[in-house]
Structure formats: C-alpha cells, structure tokens
Amino acid sequence: MTTEPLLQVTGLGIRIDGTERDLVSDLTFTLNKGETLCIVGESGCGKSLTALALMGLLATPPLRVTGGTADFRGRDLLTLPAAEMRRLRGDRIGMIFQEPMTSLNPALKVGDQIAEAVRRHTGKSEAEARAHALEMLRRVRIPAPETRLDVYPHNLSGGMRQRVMIAMALANAPDLVLADEPTTALDVTIQAQVLELMRGLQRDTGTAMILITHDLGMVAEMADMVAVMYAGQMVETGSAAAIFDDPQHPYTIGLMSSMPGLDGDGDRLVTIPGVVPPAREMPGGCRFAARCPFADAQCAKVPPTLPVAGDVSHRVACWKAPLDAQVAA
C-alpha cells in the first residue's frame, strides 16, 4: 500500500451563524491514497457536516466554514470556486448518501442517471455513456443489468437503489468516495452484501474512501484509519487496530462498552451518562468533560489538543490520557 496523502484536512472549523463557538472545531486528518478512513460518532457529532463541507455542499447560511484547509491533490476544497467544485464532484470525488431514494432523481431512468454523470465529466457520446452505465450496473452486481437500465428508482428495492448510487459514485473512477451512512437504511443481510461489494470495488479501483458511520461494527470491518468524533471535535484517531485494541479516549471506551456484545455475558451495559451538548451551546473546555468519569476542573476549562500517543498515527485529545496512569492516582 502506498502512503501518499490524497486529502489533508487541517484545522477545519464550521459554525452556525449567531453562535459563539465552532460546531465542528479544529478538525485535522489525512487520508492516504486507496485507504478507508471511517469517521465514527453519534448524532450531532459533526461527521456529516464535515463531509458536506468537504464537498462544498454546506447549507450557507446558517452554516459556514470558519477556517482551515482541505488539500485535495494540491487544491483547497474549502476555497475552490463553485464551478470548479462542481467539476470535481461526481468526477474526482464520488458521493454515496444514506437514502438512495432521496438522492436519485425519481423521474429519470437509472441508466440515464448514471450516463448523465459520465457524460457531464467525460467526452463520451450518448451511446458510449450508456454502455459505460451498463458496465457499472454489472460491476455492482445488479441482476439483469440490461433491463435495469430502463427502470426508475422506485422500481428497485432499497439494496438495489444503493447499488445504483454506488455505480454512479464510481462511474468516473474517482480518487475519493465520500459515503455517509451508506447502509444504515438497509437490512443486515443486504448491508453485508453492500459492504462486501464496496470493499471489492475499492480493492479493484484503488479509490480512497471516507466512510461516515455510527456503527462500530462497520468501522472494524471497513476501516484502515479511524477518527472518533464527539460534539464536533476529533477525540481520537488512529489505525483500526489501535482504536479497537488500544482505545485511549474515555469517549471511545464508553462508546465501545455501550455496545451490547454477541457473547451474551449478561452483564449490565456500562453506559455514558447524560447527553451530547446542544449544537448552539458547545462548552469551552473538553466537550466530553460533563459526561466523563475521569474529568476534573481542568478538563472543563481548557480544551485538550491532539498530542502524539504511541505511534505517530494514534493520537488522543484527552488530558487524562494515558488512562492507565489513573489507576495509580
């Protein structure tokens, strides 16, 4: 695997107009070519806003980017003019959203939608684009792809629609795919099929992926790198092995222990008390302090930064890390 960076996000901030603090605050991460970065967190942690900001799709106003850069192949996605951003989207950057029914055009046949994405960004003729659309439907393993070219999205099941979305996102062999909860609306057996498909296509094409999810199981299965977000901040980041085998941040640990396991040890779940702070009232210090069993007065006042823990790629934003030292205290 090459470790050449494809996307470098530095200090990204997103704010709602009229609020004092950034909702998404000082986000920094690197995505290497061909790798999968999973951004994991619960509702309101800013994971979807981050994706929208990178795609230039943030609803401005009331939201706006307050700072930072997102270097994608030498260009800053955050300051790119709208017209150039449109050229990138659907070509170098593909998108897969949670609800294929709301992101596909209900009035267009699926073959035409895929062909449109191809023709918009390449010089292909109508016939070539249609042939390419057929090839894409075949690659996402839609049965009887010749006939499916001419059906409308509502004729397809949820799993099939999501395959069409994937076909469209990958039609122009993008360098990066942003997938926001791509299987959340699907049943588990269908989810397993779609994940397997995405992994296979990614292996074949070498596309890098940012996968946004709330499901730690999916993270363990798909991720090379993981970024755990809480209330708009990245609290921990590292390789999938580092996050799962050596979790450092109390939120990461709390999130994992909140998940019921399949071994049925029958223990009471260890939970994270309380709720996420409201988007307009982000606290000043560590945003997790109010729910953290390790927090003290300093945590609530001073926001922790992401220092280096262990190997350089595993970083944790916590005053109390490494927690093992707390045993002695």
Binding site: Q191, L269, V270
Partner: protein, 361 residues
C-alpha cells in the same frame, strides 16, 4: 425458568388485501401467516427478522392494536381477538406497547406529566394525589428529573422521549409489555441507557417482555428466547444462547453471519445471502426461503416445511435442519485485547464511583 404461558397465539393470521383490479383477483399480502407462539411469564422473548417479515404486524396483533384475519390470541384464558372493545380497554391495563418512535406516539400538546398520567385516568386508577405520586415515582424509575412534568415532548431528545414512552407504558403496572424496536432509533450510548432501564424495570416489576428487533446484538443481550421470522412465518425458535451458537435454519445462520462485529478481523468477508427478500405478494412455493437459501434442494421448492422440534426447546422450519451443520456465533469469551479490557474495567469502575458520589436530583 418459569414455563407458565401468559400469552399464546394459535394459527394467527393477518392478511392485507389490495384494491381489486378490473380483471382478476385482488392481491393479498400475508403479513402474518399461521403463527403459533407461546410467551412465558417473566421471560424476554425477542422476535427478529428483516423489513417486511411481519414482525411489527405480529406485535400489534398480540395486544390487538390490529385485529387478526384468523386465529386466536389467548391472554389468561381469553381470546382477545374477539373480546368486545370495552373489555379490551380493561385488558390493555395488562398489555402495554412501546413504540419505536416515541415522538410520533406522544401527543405534542400534552405535558409530560399529563402524558404519563393519562393511562391512569383511562383505567380509573387512584385519586389525583395517588396519580401524581405514581407519576413522580415512575419518572424517577426511568431516570428523568421530577421537573419535566410541566414540559412538552418537543423539548426532549430521542432517548429522553423513549424514557417517557416507557414510563407511559409501565404506569398501569402491566403484565406484558411489547416493544416494537424500542431502542433502534437511538444512538449507541443512549441505547445502552434505555436497555438498562428496560431490564431494571422488567426485573423490578416482574414484567414479561416481548421485543421486536432487527439488531441481533441487542437481542443477544436482552432476550431469553428468540423467534426468527421470515415472510410472515416463524422459521426458528429457541433459547438465545443455544440459538446463536447452533442455528438450525439457514436464514438464522445468515442473519448471525451478517452482524458486523466491532473487532478488527473478527468476521469473514463473504456475505452469505444473495438477493433480496421476495415480494410478499408473490410468495415462493415450498419453503419461502428457498430462492435465497444456499442449501435448498428439490423438496424445498415444492413442500412448505413445518416448524418441528430439533432439540430441547428448539424448533426450526427447515427440511434439512437435522442434517445441516451451520455456523453460529461462537462465544470466545475473550474478544478484547488485554489493553482494551483493562481500560474498559477502569472506565466501568470510575463510572460506578462517579455515580455514587453524585447524588441524583
């Protein structure tokens, strides 16, 4: 385990009929198709299956939020499928329901206090003072401060609303509570809080709990027994640990294999099932699972298998249940690295300490 039956269905059916076209017959969906289920007093029974398998319809039939097309639902010796509406109203004191989306099931114009008190009024329980006291006690039990009684549902987050939904369902001290995906709309950390509340209350109040769910990890954690549904039928049933370790129906095995496990490299990549569930209007012949089943043979395409005993307290509806050796989820005991486990323990102990030192208000 107590094996006294508290609620039982016999050959329960619910058919939904479409509009009759100009030519031919109206199309019929058999959402629940001949289900025999015995629910034991004090147990947690989980009904699992994918979208469209009829599990939510079954849940509603159990408390007669819907009337069956055929068959019976027997509660304490009475067939509630045909009791008069007035009697059913009385029975609802014993049979309560928790909805998936608490927001759409709470009247937005009523205060939380009024919402939780309402079932007591409907059932003429206690005087004003008693009711107030019961509401206050129930709020404490579901972990909400007493100050919420004058507030409205929109002021609360999803997890808090579900606590309100639970309080409302349990205020009449029911015997059986049916939860239709009670935690699936919630974030992981909030879901864990609500699961703990449900389990604590079940214990404290001696409830029988029926959980409709699609998340098998939640089922594994909460249930004593599991019934797996596919296209309107129960295809497998048994005690939770045994069923997860040794599934007898290929569909159960596929469901278990499809669960993403939060451990790197824990699961082999291949998806077991190809294709989508068939259209419930146009059911396959024979075994309904045969078009997707990797083990299907000739007999499966022609003959519908009956739910038959495969072991102690185990049933499966598969022609090949006796000969197939299917892989379940083997409980390995040690799924976390030593470092991770140490930190989980530390987190748990610290959380317990923190809970002790801060007195709840």
């Amino acid at each position: 385990m107590n094996t006294e039956i508290i609620l039982e269905t016999q050959a329960l059916q619910k058919r939904f009929t479409g509009r009759k076209p100009f030519f031919g017959e109206a199309k019929v969906v058999r959402a629940v198709d001949g289900i025999n289920l015995k629910i034991r007093r004090g147990e947690t029974l989980a009904i699992v299956g994918e979208s469209g398998c009829g599990k939510s319809t079954l849940a509603r039939l159990l408390v007669r939020l819907m009337s069956p097309s055929d068959g019976t639902v027997v509660y304490q010796g009475r067939n509630i499928a045909n009791v008069p509406a007035e009697d059913m109203r009385h029975l609802r004191r014993d049979l309560q329901f928790i909805f998936q989306d608490p927001f759409s099931s709470l009247n937005p114009r009523m205060t939380i206090g009024a919402l939780i008190e309402e079932p007591l009024l409907v059932h003429n329980i206690g005087d004003r003072q008693d009711r107030r006291a019961k509401v206050a006690a129930m709020l404490a039990r579901v972990g909400l401060p007493a100050s919420v009684i004058d507030r409205y549902p929109h002021e609360f987050s999803g997890g808090q609303r579900q606590r309100i939904g639970i309080a409302r369902a349990l205020i009449t001290e029911p015997k059986v509570v049916i939860g239709d995906e009670p935690v699936s709309a919630l974030d992981v950390s909030i879901q864990a809080q609500v699961i703990n509340i449900l389990q604590d209350l079940k214990e404290a109040l001696g409830l029988t709990l029926v959980i409709i769910a699609h998340d098998l990890a939640v089922v594994r954690h909460m249930a004593d027994r599991v019934a797996v549904m596919y296209l309107g039928e129960i295809v497998e049933q048994g005690p939770v640990a045994d069923l997860f370790a040794n599934p007898k129906h290929p569909y159960t095995a596929a469901l278990i294999a499809a669960i993403p496990v939060a451990q790197v490299g824990a699961r082999s990549a291949a998806a077991q099932l190809q294709g989508d569930p068939p259209n419930p209007i146009d059911l396959p012949t024979g075994c309904r699972f045969h078009p997707r089943c990797p083990h299907a043979t000739e007999v499966c395409t022609t003959t519908r298998p009956a739910l038959a005993a495969t072991g102690p307290d185990r049933w499966a509806a598969c022609h090949h249940a006796a000969t197939l050796s299917l892989q379940g989820h083997a409980a390995t005991g040690q799924t976390r690295s030593a470092a991770a486990q140490a930190r989980f323990d530390l987190y748990r102990d610290r959380s317990a300490d923190a809970a002790r030192t801060t007195t709840p208000t």
